[in-house]
């Protein structure tokens, strides 16, 4: 077998660079637009650069700071709650004699679009006085995230893991010891992946948040759409950059600590 020639390696490098550019150019454009001062059509580049908008964001202008905090708090809470609940529920279903039937229930939230489901639930939310509140939005988002988490972990809880749990019992361990010493350490990678996925489900949620929150719960995706509607492209770009940053950070953490160390496998 011949080693790849220099020309093939160069071609592979070019293709890789093009693919990277396709992925990264939209983000680079958003970042550039957020600091452009100004950038008017048909110029190919901004006429000037300024961090003033970012500075004003930090001091509360445009209410982006509070929206960022709200979105972070909401998504972290939904991710933690749904991951933990899905971990336990997924196990219960995986080892249940009626596994298939119970698993179908987890798919119910995904049968229809989030907005349609939100419309169906609005009456209930209004009666419970949850409409227009952060708690209501959190509950609605958790419905989807929890269902995802159950499906995710249902595939994780295998016969091998059950055997490990049984083995700890015959070695003299309690259920708590089985979880603390074996099952949780073995599950760390999958828990982080699920946390990441459910965080994203909540983070980018727009339609359901707008409907259940009645426009009062101003998360970052709603802010982006508001700025776009106002044709405020600079603040829309800034809000979009804020929208992208936490998922990128989580992706980096996942890549660095989960996949590289070979976690998430049994």
């Amino acid at each position: 077998m011949h080693a790849p020639s220099a020309s093939i390696s160069r071609a592979q490098a070019i293709v890789a660079a093009l693919l990277a550019a396709v992925c990264l150019v939209p983000f680079a454009y958003l970042a550039a637009l957020s600091v452009a001062d100004p950038w008017t059509f048909p110029a190919l580049a901004p006429e000037g650069w300024s961090l003033a908008r970012w500075g004003r964001m930090l001091t509360g202008a445009g209410a982006l700071g509070p929206s960022l905090s709200l979105s972070l708090g909401l998504s972290l809470t939904v991710a933690i709650a749904s991951t933990a609940a899905g971990y336990v529920t997924g196990k219960f279903i995986a080892y249940h004699p009626w596994r298939r039937r119970l698993l179908v229930l987890a798919y119910v939230p995904f049968v229809m679009a989030p907005v349609i489901l939100g419309v169906c639930l609005m009456y209930l939310f209004l009666r419970m006085r949850l409409a227009g509140s952060v708690a209501g939005v959190m509950l609605a988002q958790t419905m989807f995230a929890y269902g995802f988490s159950i499906i995710f972990f249902n595939a994780f809880w295998s016969a091998r893991l059950k055997a490990m749990e049984d083995l700890v019992a015959t070695l003299g361990g309690t259920t708590a010891e089985a979880y603390w010493r074996v099952l949780l350490p073995v599950s760390v990678g999958m828990l982080l992946i699920c946390f990441f996925q459910t965080f994203l489900i909540s983070w980018f949620q727009y339609g359901l948040t707008l409907l259940v929150g009645a426009g009062k719960v101003q998360t970052l995706p709603l802010k982006v759409y508001d700025f776009v509607s106002e044709a405020n492209m600079y603040y829309a770009a800034l809000a979009s950059c804020l929208l992208v940053l936490p998922p990128v950070a989580l992706l980096w953490v996942n890549k660095r600590f989960v996949f590289r160390q070979g976690l998430g496998t049994t």
């Binding site: 083995l167 070695l171 003299g172």
Partner: protein, 254 residues
């Protein structure tokens, strides 16, 4: 059927009476009786689906029997949870904990609440030495071969000095050469640590090699034998058929 009641009842360390288990509409064990003296190994031969694993799981306390009793070391195990039975289960897979090293896997049982207070380090190092794994003590399971992993699994179980070792075809996944090594290892450990064990297998030769006592499980019914000769002579077991096959092959090829 079981050995002479007088002698067996007097020296039985493990006594199983009338053990029954049904899954759904399917009876898996139909009144199993067995008696096993202390420091002996009983081989239970049976085909796949004959109820071997179910028998071990019931004795270990991982499943609840529909009827029957299990007495171990003079103590009834009725209602006793698995973690209090001192009956360690060894699976076909080694089931080593992937986040722990060889040393930590072997020491695992000793660090649980039931066994705290013992001198960990000395015992663990001694066991690692007996298993011939000194050079691998700090490795993770994925860095070991299948045979090495099964050695660690043995060490993890035996170091606890359990009252009973339940072996569920532990060598089934190993190739012939490694299987022979593991069989030798088990016999050495069983003698050195005076282990009482139930060894289930579908391999006829392995059943004969491993067991001081022999039994055959078929369609949920366990038949125990007074002697190896009785086991060999029983046509249901299949030893005579095996011998006839190899004899015919030898005559054909000589």
């Amino acid at each position: 059927m079981h050995p002479s009641n007088g002698r067996a009842a007097a020296d039985a360390f493990l006594t199983v009476r009338g053990l029954q288990k049904t899954f759904g509409d399917e009876p898996v064990l139909r009144g199993v009786d067995l008696r096993l003296p202390a420091h002996r190994t009983m081989s239970v031969l049976g085909r796949s689906g004959s109820g071997k694993t179910t028998l071990l799981r019931l004795i270990a306390g991982l499943e609840r029997a529909d009827a029957g009793t299990v007495v171990l070391g003079g103590r009834s195990l009725d209602g006793v949870p698995a973690r209090e039975r001192s009956a360690v289960y060894l699976y076909q897979e080694s089931l080593l904990f992937p986040h722990l090293s060889v040393r930590e896997n072997i020491a695992f049982g000793l660090t649980l609440g039931a066994h705290r207070g013992r001198d960990l380090d000395v015992e663990v190092e001694a066991m690692i030495d007996v298993l011939g794994l000194t050079a691998h003590a700090d490795k993770r399971p994925h860095q070991l071969s299948g045979g090495q992993q099964q050695r660690v699994a043995f060490g993890r179980a035996v170091i606890l000095r359990p009252k009973l070792l339940l072996l569920d075809e532990p060598f089934a996944n190993l190739d012939a050469a490694i299987r022979t090594q593991m069989q030798d290892l088990f016999q050495r450990l069983a003698a050195a640590y005076r282990i009482t064990a139930l060894f289930v297998t579908h391999n006829l030769k392995e059943a004969l090699l491993m067991g001081d006592r022999l039994a055959h499980l078929r369609d949920g019914i366990l038949k125990t034998y007074d002697s190896r000769q009785a086991f060999v002579d029983d046509p249901v077991v299949g030893v005579r058929d095996e011998m006839a096959f190899w004899t015919a092959l030898r005559e054909e090829t000589s």
